[in-house]
């Protein structure tokens, strides 16, 4: 048996402004998702199930939450003599005084680590997406055609891709994909209809070379700089066409929409079937008791994990461990992170609430002041206490840990921000 020797590097450093208050104190990859897991659990579970045994995580922004979450790596069976997850934080040395200046720079700064492992191919992944993928199919495709780089793409509507994704045109040579005919990063008017998943498989020698060359440039991103450079220089770049589900969580509204894809009678994301793993040690969720429903409790089209106590009504929502919904409270179309408390009579509609937040009695949150639904999500940062009877409109954003006296007496209008 040939030992698999793919090295996977997960880009988990970034803070993404659009996720706002959810990433004030954690990198995007550590944002909770799916009622018990974190976003990064998706690439990690994919890697585990693809038989890849050596993983590095490039982490820079507020990495504590992520370090804590990865733990020993045992949750993904990534523990053993030749298996493991290494977290690579930025560092200084004689030559290099920088933070990671971009995704490509982050990998470049750790090339000694990469070379040490003598990988047969290097898989660069984003830690930010919700998808199920067996990377082995793509690696096989990459090796079969002796590509310098193979990048995975998913078909999207052109108008949806504009300004959001890296977009490519891909040839039809093979059933799995073909040559990259063009690549544009976040174009206003995309030529192609294939959006990049930020799943990149490199031939090691090629990666070392292009990263070295990129150091002379002023920008150091795989999507913006490395990919276009390689296409332009006529290197063998292949597009691999991915046909599964791909959930995007760049903005709060996208995050909410992707979460809602977990619900319904035919959910687009089936966590149980995907066999998603998370670190149960993180926040001690393995010590929660089963979810408790009271005599008046209602749960409808919802997901809820152990440790929740439901006395009120929960509809079309996702509840993380330790969420409590008291009598008379109504939670609809919402995502409530760990240990959120909704007190008696509280009403939440289309809300994303970060951890340890309390909604006071009869608080009305996410309910438009002009009536009707604007379709905009209201997001409340962690460790907040929304005062009793407070009204918060839709599309609002509240920063973490707002002091009590800062809450305006007559509430927040639609789209207001509280900082």
């Amino acid at each position: 048996m040939v030992m698999p020797s793919t090295l996977a590097m997960i880009l988990a450093g970034g803070r993404v402004d659009e996720l706002g208050v959810l990433t004030h104190y954690r990198p995007k990859s550590a944002v909770p998702f799916g009622g018990f897991a974190r976003v990064i659990d998706f690439p990690l579970t994919n890697l585990m199930r693809s038989g890849i045994e050596r993983i590095a995580i490039l982490s820079q922004y507020r990495s504590y939450s992520l370090v804590n979450h990865i733990g020993t790596g045992a949750a993904w069976d990534m523990i053993g003599r030749h298996r493991g997850i290494s977290i690579l934080p930025p560092f200084k040395d004689y030559e290099n005084p920088h933070w990671y200046r971009g995704s490509a720079d982050a990998v470049h700064q750790n090339l000694d680590f990469v070379r040490y492992h003598k990988p047969s191919e290097i898989l660069i992944l984003s830690g930010d997406h919700i998808y199920e993928m067996d990377y082995r199919d793509m690696i096989r495709f990459h090796n079969e055609h002796d590509a310098d780089l193979t990048a995975a793409f998913i078909k999207v509507k052109k108008e949806d891709a504009a300004l959001r994704f890296g977009v490519a045109e891909i040839g039809d040579e093979y059933s799995e994909g073909g040559s990259l005919l063009s690549y544009e990063e976040k174009p206003a008017d995309p030529k192609g209809e294939w959006a990049s998943l930020t799943v990149l498989c490199f031939k090691p020698e090629v990666l070392y070379k292009v990263l070295g060359k990129n150091q002379a440039a002023a920008s150091y991103e795989f999507g913006r700089d490395i990919l276009p450079m390689m296409v332009q220089e006529g290197m063998k770049v292949l597009g691999y066409k991915f046909r599964g589900y791909w959930g995007y969580t760049r903005t709060v509204n996208e995050y909410w929409q992707t979460s809602m894809d977990l619900l319904g009678s035919n959910p687009l994301i089936d966590l149980e079937q995907w066999g998603i793993r998370t670190n149960l040690e993180h926040r001690d969720i393995r010590d929660c008791q089963p979810l408790k429903v009271g005599s008046q409790g209602v749960l409808d089209n919802s997901l809820a994990y152990n440790g929740c106590i439901i006395e009120g009504t929960v509809k079309n929502s996702i509840l993380f461990p330790g969420v409590r919904v008291e009598k008379g409270a109504v939670v609809e179309n919402s995502v409530l992170f760990f240990n959120t408390l909704v007190k008696e009579g509280g009403q939440l509609r289309q809300v994303v609430s970060d951890v340890n937040t309390t909604f006071g009695a009869n608080a009305q949150v996410g309910i438009s002041s002009i009536g009707g639904s604007s379709g905009r999500v209201t997001v409340i940062g962690w460790n907040n206490h929304v005062p009793d009877n407070m009204t918060v409109g839709c599309g609002c954003s509240v920063a973490p840990g707002i002091e009590e006296e800062k809450w305006p007496e007559n509430g927040l209008e639609d789209m207001e921000e509280l900082q």
């Binding site: 949750a75 009678s265 998603i276 393995r286 008791q289 429903v293 005599s295 749960l299 089209n301 509840l319």
Partner: protein, 425 residues
């Protein structure tokens, strides 16, 4: 700091617990699942951990595999480290002893080498099959204050129940002056919880007297009382011996009630869900549109499309559309198919109730028809479904029935269309 923390814990986990019937057909009583995510022994182990005690021996005998797998290296209860640890102590042949454990005292006697090898001032002897929360550190302090040879944890129970317990009669100082083992005529309402703190020296001496003395309640304690060495440690919280189907079901239902005094998570009881592989990486429980769930506990990985009322569900239980589960305890990965009904039942793991089947039909009168082979096990209406049993669609099962577990390799059973009250199949 050292003081009380030095005590050595011996956990008796060997008993068959035969009154739990088919629930202990393939596992020891302390390993029986409880409260959705726990096993009975988690309560004792977590109490030990929270009392700051760090050295534990678990005395096993009867079908210990499921128990051993559950305990693993003890990490779930922080029993890992250089000087902390949990050891499984199965019966073993030696120079003199070549026998199974003959009783509680005999089991401890056969592990005297373990006691001597782990220097201690006190030895705490516990059962692994009780549901309670207790601080043994406090009890050890009390034991020292009393300068006792043995201190026994005791609680007040209704006089009508005293016949199930060891009963102690105390003086004003809580010194036990008389002892009756399972008395028919109650003289006291103070019942032994099977929790003992021994002075190590006193224990070693008591065990060396007479090898025929194999039981604490019958032999060792009565003699210690004669020697005026025994004190009662009064306990006032929630405590249940879940050694019968009825008490097992009652205690599970207690977890559902806010006022029952039992609250595993608040008590800091730790399950060891990782022992069963990825049991707890299961996705959050899914509550489908139009489902009804009331006064129940539901564990991760469950899917509820039908109705669940007043029941405790372990991980991965599926209740299909139109199915109703009421007043029941359903263990891991059981499936209740569409329009089936389960009323007042305990279903072991991986049970499959076919479409439209009924488990527990019949009115109050039917509930009083005790099981024909085990009238002392099933008499209040509870029906037991054994591990892996697949009840065919439309089958009807009455009250106080037992469906034996499905045995691998055995020819497929042909179920009757109906099993009347008190039946066994």
């Amino acid at each position: 700091m050292r003081e009380a923390k030095d005590a050595l814990v011996l956990l008796l986990a060997g008993g068959i617990g035969s009154r739990l019937n088919i629930l202990v057909g393939h596992r020891a009583k302390p390993a029986v699942p409880f409260g959705g995510l726990y096993r009975i022994i988690d309560f004792s182990l977590s109490n030990v951990m929270k009392s700051g005690l760090t050295r534990v021996g678990v005395l096993t005998q009867y079908k210990p595999l499921s128990l051993m797998r559950h305990i693993q290296n003890g990490e779930a209860w922080d029993f890992t480290g250089r000087t902390r640890g949990i050891k499984i102590l199965p019966p073993r042949t030696g120079e003199k002893d070549s026998d199974w454990y003959k009783g509680t005292a005999d089991a401890i006697r056969q592990n005297i080498d373990f006691i001597r090898g782990n220097q201690s001032e006190q030895v705490v002897v516990l059962s692994g099959d009780h549901i309670y929360q207790m601080d043994f550190d406090e009890m050890i302090t009390y034991h020292r204050e009393k300068n006792a040879g043995v201190t026994i944890g005791m609680m007040v129970v209704p006089k009508s129940e005293i016949h199930q317990f060891g009963a102690g009669i105390v003086d004003d100082e809580n010194r036990i002056v008389d002892w009756e083992e399972k008395p028919k005529e109650p003289r006291t309402n103070l019942a032994s919880m099977g929790i003992y703190v021994f002075d190590t020296e006193y224990l070693l001496k008591a065990l060396s007297c007479d090898r025929e003395e194999v039981d604490f309640g019958m032999h060792i304690i009565p003699r210690a009382i004669e020697e005026k060495q025994v004190y009662a440690y009064p306990f006032y919280g929630y405590w249940r011996d879940v050694g019968t189907i009825q008490s097992y079901w009652d205690a599970n239902m207690d977890v559902l009630r806010a006022d029952s005094g039992i609250s595993p998570e608040e008590w800091g009881i730790r399950p060891n869900t990782e022992a069963d592989g990825r049991a707890m990486d299961r996705a959050p429980a899914r509550f489908a549109q139009g489902c009804t769930v009331q006064s129940s506990m539901i564990s991760a990985g469950s899917v509820i499309e039908g109705t669940v009322v007043n029941s405790v569900l372990s991980p991965g239980v599926i209740v299909r559309k139109g199915a109703v589960v009421r007043d029941s305890v359903i263990l891991e990965d059981s499936v209740i198919e569409a329009n089936a009904e389960v009323d007042l039942a305990v279903c072991d793991k991986q049970v499959h109730i076919g479409e439209g089947a009924v488990v527990g039909y019949g009115d109050e009168e039917a509930k009083s028809i005790s099981n024909r082979e085990y009238p002392t096990h099933l008499y209040s209406g509870i029906t037991l479904i054994g591990k892996g049993a697949a009840i065919p669609a439309k089958m009807r099962i009455g009250r106080n029935c037992i469906i034996r577990p499905d045995e691998k390799g055995r020819e497929k059973r042909v179920f009757p269309a109906e099993l009347e009250h008190s039946g066994i199949f």
